[in-house]
């Protein structure tokens, strides 16, 4: 922390390599995000009839009651969702990283699963459990004669969104907690600080970058999400309003794109605000290899209480996936607490065709995740470690991707790239790599925030030391920065990978060949008919399992790394 002063001083002139990096990332974002989106949403700034530049559409926006109400509803829902998601995420993150807790790895993985909500199938499962006539309400009505509106109105959206997106906070906060220097905690303890005060004054403030990275993602994601409000039939929020207008056939109205512009502006502002909240403070700690906080053993009572809390939270947030599982083995499930009968026929039906979907999903999501951590890590490094002109623009542009509706990006890609012909006459936009790029662009903010938070926790002095010893910049990055950031990089990869694996809206625009289709597309195709509900849910279960296994493996890698680091150091404290 004493390094706070030296840090601002240490901003050497940019190397040519850094300039090249800024240029390359800038071009990439320009071609695969800014231009395609601009070709679609420029309509927001044109006058009806003449096509001349105008801002009158934005005046219409503030004059229309529906849009103003929608705006404030979206703000309310996003803020409340962050609060509720924190309630879910804080105990899980703290208990699993702070104490010797059996099953911590499993809990970290399970706590991540809610992020993977397959389109359509997840929605149906959720309604069947928590809906007005879902299992829970049917039982409540039967036993006590009342129902709880879990999934009604704005508060219903808050509930579902918090369940869905709290893993963003969990993942980023856990990564941050693991990075805290044990010496800080020990120093505080030596000075007589303990218990909740220790958490409030030392541990949580040091982990703040991770928490804020997660919380800002939840806020912006909820603000821009259209699937959940539409599932709950809440239409007076901004993102659904934009979606409904952009995707209504035959209506040439600029307002959908006006709303998209508003969404993008608010998202970038929210990200900037979270960055401002951590500005001027230093979160980096020098010592590495302490393996994060000391893991304390719990007394029997503490342990029982901890297990109870963890179990309750997991039961709540994993209920939708339990519903999905039931749906995938149900014959008929209608207006009853449980399905009428069970079968494995749905799995048999999807077995034959799912292998190509699985292969494509793994390929696309892995590539997208890799692209995202590469870009995200590079942007975070440029923003935090250099003073290059325009580095913040990279950050903002990448964050804005969060607010671009998938369908807008999909149309933009077709418009920009379909005219480009390859030598064999096919169009550039029909290559499967375009799906990967669209997925990577859409999920880049997740990896970026994770990498940004991880780099904030690393003291610059470590890099200075390396360079003083004669290492080049590139070598320093490779041998010092990247290894120290590994936890954050993996958190970013997992978030991008998992959510890319179930993305549908841009994919649906870009898939041009069944042999190129990912799981989410197959699921969509099934979920359009009553007979397809079971098979669709079965594919959904396959998607969740696939991503969960990959997540578990990457957690395993993190744990291994931590143990490898702490083993030699731990012997000589």
């Amino acid at each position: 922390m004493a390094l706070a002063l030296s840090r601002t001083a240490f901003r050497p002139a940019a190397t040519p390599g850094q300039w090249a990096l800024v240029g390359a990332i800038g071009l990439l974002l320009l071609f695969f995000l800014v231009l395609p989106v601009a070709t679609v949403i420029y309509v927001a700034f044109t006058e009806k009839g003449t096509g001349a530049f105008t801002l009158v559409n934005f005046l219409d926006f503030v004059r229309t009651d529906l849009f103003v109400t929608s705006f404030w509803n979206s703000v309310y829902v996003s803020a409340m969702a962050v609060a509720l998601a924190s309630v879910f995420a804080l105990p899980l993150a703290y208990i699993t990283t702070r104490f010797q807790f059996r099953g911590a790895l499993l809990i970290q993985t399970l706590g991540f699963v809610p992020l993977i909500m397959p389109p359509f199938a997840g929605a149906v499962a959720m309604q069947l459990l928590f809906g007005r006539n879902g299992s829970l309400n049917l039982l409540l009505d039967d036993w006590f004669g009342f129902k709880i509106p879990f999934m009604e109105g704005l508060n219903g959206v808050v509930f579902v969104q918090a369940v869905h997106y709290f893993p963003f906070i969990l993942v980023n906060l856990s990564a941050a907690l693991r990075n805290i220097d044990r010496a800080m905690e020990e120093a505080a303890q030596n000075l007589g600080c303990s218990g909740f005060r220790l958490f409030r004054r030392i541990v949580f403030p040091l982990a703040l970058p991770g928490y804020l990275a997660g919380a800002s993602l939840v806020f912006v994601k909820v603000f821009d999400d259209l699937a959940t409000p539409l599932l709950l039939n809440v239409k007076d929020m901004l993102a659904p309003q934009a979606y409904l207008r952009v995707t209504s056939i035959g209506i040439a109205d600029p307002m959908g794109y006006v709303i998209a512009v508003v969404l993008i502006v608010v998202s970038v502002l929210a990200m900037a605000a979270s960055a401002a909240a951590t500005r001027g403070r230093d979160y980096s700690t020098v010592q590495r290899g302490g393996g994060g906080l000391a893991k304390r053993a719990m007394t029997r009572w503490e342990s029982a209480a901890a297990y109870a809390v963890v179990f309750l939270i997991l039961a709540l947030v994993l209920a939708p996936h339990l519903g999905l599982l039931l749906l995938s083995v149900a014959t008929v499930w209608s207006f009853s607490p449980l399905p009428d009968a069970y079968t494995v026929a749905h799995y048999a039906r999807v077995f034959g065709e799912s292998s190509v979907y699985i292969k494509n999903t793994l390929l696309y999501a892995t590539l997208a995740g890799l692209i995202d951590v590469l870009l995200g890590g590079a942007i975070a490094y440029l923003v935090l470690r250099t003073r290059l002109v325009g580095r913040h623009w990279l950050d903002w542009a990448a964050s804005a991707a969060l607010a671009v509706p998938g369908v807008v990006l999909g149309i933009g890609y077709l418009r920009t790239f379909f005219g480009v012909q390859l030598p064999d006459g096919r169009s550039l936009a029909s290559l499967w790599i375009m799906i990967v790029l669209a997925l990577a662009v859409r999920r880049l903010p997740y990896a970026l925030r994770a990498c940004h938070a991880a780099l904030q926790q690393i003291a610059v002095s470590l890099e200075e030391a390396a360079e003083n010893l004669g290492a080049t910049k590139a070598r320093t990055v490779r041998r010092v920065v990247v290894p120290l950031m590994m936890g954050g990089i993996l958190a970013g990869f997992v978030s991008s990978f998992a959510t890319a694996a179930v993305e549908l809206s841009a994919t649906l625009m870009l898939v041009q060949n069944t042999s190129d289709a990912p799981l989410a597309y197959g699921l969509y195709v099934f979920m359009q008919s009553p007979a397809g509900r079971g098979p669709g849910a079965a594919l959904g279960v396959v998607a969740v399992l696939l991503v969960a296994v990959c997540t578990y493996l990457s957690h395993l890698v993190i744990e291994r790394g931590q143990r490898a680091k702490s083993a030699p150091m731990g012997a000589s404290p």
Binding site: Q127, L244, G250, S334, W432, M509, G532
Partner: protein, 441 residues
């Protein structure tokens, strides 16, 4: 592109070159469709069997994504056919010059089914199947909530169904749009909107996709839904506890297919259209997982005994006259009116409707002429329309929605006016109905 994709594309190229010389269809025929796998799989199998050497490449997209895709890819079209229900989507494609004119050779297909013309008058798209609109309900839900069995559209406006009904927004579902338009043409503009709003006051939800309605009824999240018949039939075939009825005045709407302009495999596309319209293709429609109404009357001879036959049963669609010109002129206006007056004002409309139901229940117990008058006024307030029938199809208003080149009112301005109009009147109606209920006490 993929591993196998290159081979496929090469095949398509060869097929495309070949078709110019010899007319025998072969190679890959690419079709964009909103139909589910249950519909496309049997057709794919049957078509590939009937035309050996062809492959039907089915690309599932929702109707809107499909339209946008065809539009954005017109410079280098890779698509041969567009295959979907909603006639409005085909109208948009036709308007943008994205469809190819064609004269089907198939015999034995009449001009109209019910009141609807089967084919586009200018020959850009063709009906291949028909479906009727009706009411679907969940039996378990109905039993638990003691709902009577609905028979007619007007039943859905009764107090018993308050908060139990679901419909797809006409702006999102071309087939729902046709049903709304039929009500408006059948009952007249003002009376029709009165009916729609009285039904609207009982709505639990207005979904943003057609399948959202049967999905919610199947799960028992809502009791009653306004749906197209095959959704109910295929749900029954899958074992869901749902029932379906055609009201005595219903609409029969065609589902369509059209050839995309500059289709790379034109011979294959034409072959597929001919196959859909041939007796063999029409028979595929009778399969339980599809269960749509053939447009070739002769095919009904092979149908099961209880299969609805619009060519024999006069209640199926024949009672309503449908004027395509009137409908076309005001499509966007009708959809936007429904959204602004019903979908986005649902809470206010439901509050007014509930107050009216309660006042009428109170008056039924203890009559009061002044109260009756107040309820009548409340109903009129709910039914009031911000635009007349003539205004709705006037170029000034319709032009605001179609992106017309002339300057004029913007869509957002009109929407705000209409929404404010409805909101104010729904609040007044609720207040009047409340007063009426007090008088009856």
């Amino acid at each position: 592109m993929t591993r196998s994709g290159i081979a496929l594309a090469l095949m398509a190229l060869i097929a495309g070159a070949g078709s110019a010389v010899a007319q025998a269809p072969s190679g890959k025929v690419t079709v964009i469709t909103s139909f589910s796998k249950d519909v496309t799989d049997p057709f794919k199998k049957a078509f590939e069997k009937a035309y050996p050497g062809t492959t039907l490449e089915v690309q599932n997209r929702n109707t809107n994504a499909g339209v946008k895709f065809v539009e954005e890819t017109k410079g280098n079209t890779q698509t041969d056919l567009f295959w979907a229900s909603a006639p409005d989507a085909f109208e948009v494609l036709k308007g943008k010059g994205l469809l190819q004119k064609y004269q089907p050779k198939a015999q034995g297909i009449p001009e109209t089914i019910g009141a609807f013309p089967i084919n586009d008058r200018e020959g850009f798209y063709f009906g291949f199947a028909a479906s009727g609109y009706g009411i679907m309900w969940n039996e378990r839900y109905a039993r638990a909530n003691k709902l009577p069995e609905p028979k007619e559209w007007s039943d859905l406006a009764k107090p018993a169904y308050y908060d139990h009904v679901s419909i797809a927004a006409p702006s999102r579902s071309g087939t729902t749009h046709l049903t709304i338009e039929t009500v408006l043409q059948g009952e007249g503009w003002d009376k029709g909107w009165r009916t729609l709003k009285e039904m609207g006051g009982n709505l639990r939800q207005v979904t943003e996709r057609s399948f959202g309605v049967p999905d919610a009824v199947n799960s028992g999240q809502v009791g009653v839904g306004v749906v197209i018949d095959f959704f109910a039939f295929s749900a029954q075939a899958s074992g869901f506890p749902v029932k379906f009825v055609y009201p005595s005045v219903t609409t029969i709407v065609p589902a369509n297919v059209g050839i995309v302009a500059n289709a790379p495999n034109k011979a294959g596309a034409e072959a597929f259209v001919e196959y859909l319209l041939s007796p063999a293709g029409q028979e595929v429609l009778l399969e339980p997982s599809i269960r749509r109404l053939p447009i070739n009357p002769a095919v009904y001879a092979k149908a099961p005994a209880d299969y609805p036959n619009p060519f024999k049963d006069p209640s199926l669609g024949a009672k309503v006259k449908f004027d395509v010109d009137v409908s076309e002129k005001r499509t966007a206006v009708v959809d936007t009116l429904f959204d602004q007056l019903i979908t986005f004002q649902l809470d206010a409309l439901k509050a007014a409707t509930k107050a009216i139901h309660e006042a009428e229940a109170a008056l039924a117990k203890k009559d009061n002429p002044q109260g009756r008058a107040l309820v009548g006024q409340a109903r009129d307030l709910v039914a009031a329309m911000p635009v007349t029938e003539a205004q709705a199809s006037s170029p000034e208003i319709a032009g605001a929605f179609t992106g017309a080149k002339e300057k004029g009112a913007r869509q957002a301005e009109l929407e705000q006016q209409w929404a404010a109009f409805a909101k104010e009147r729904y609040a007044q109606a609720a207040a009047k109905a409340g007063d009426a209920a007090k008088l009856a006490r």
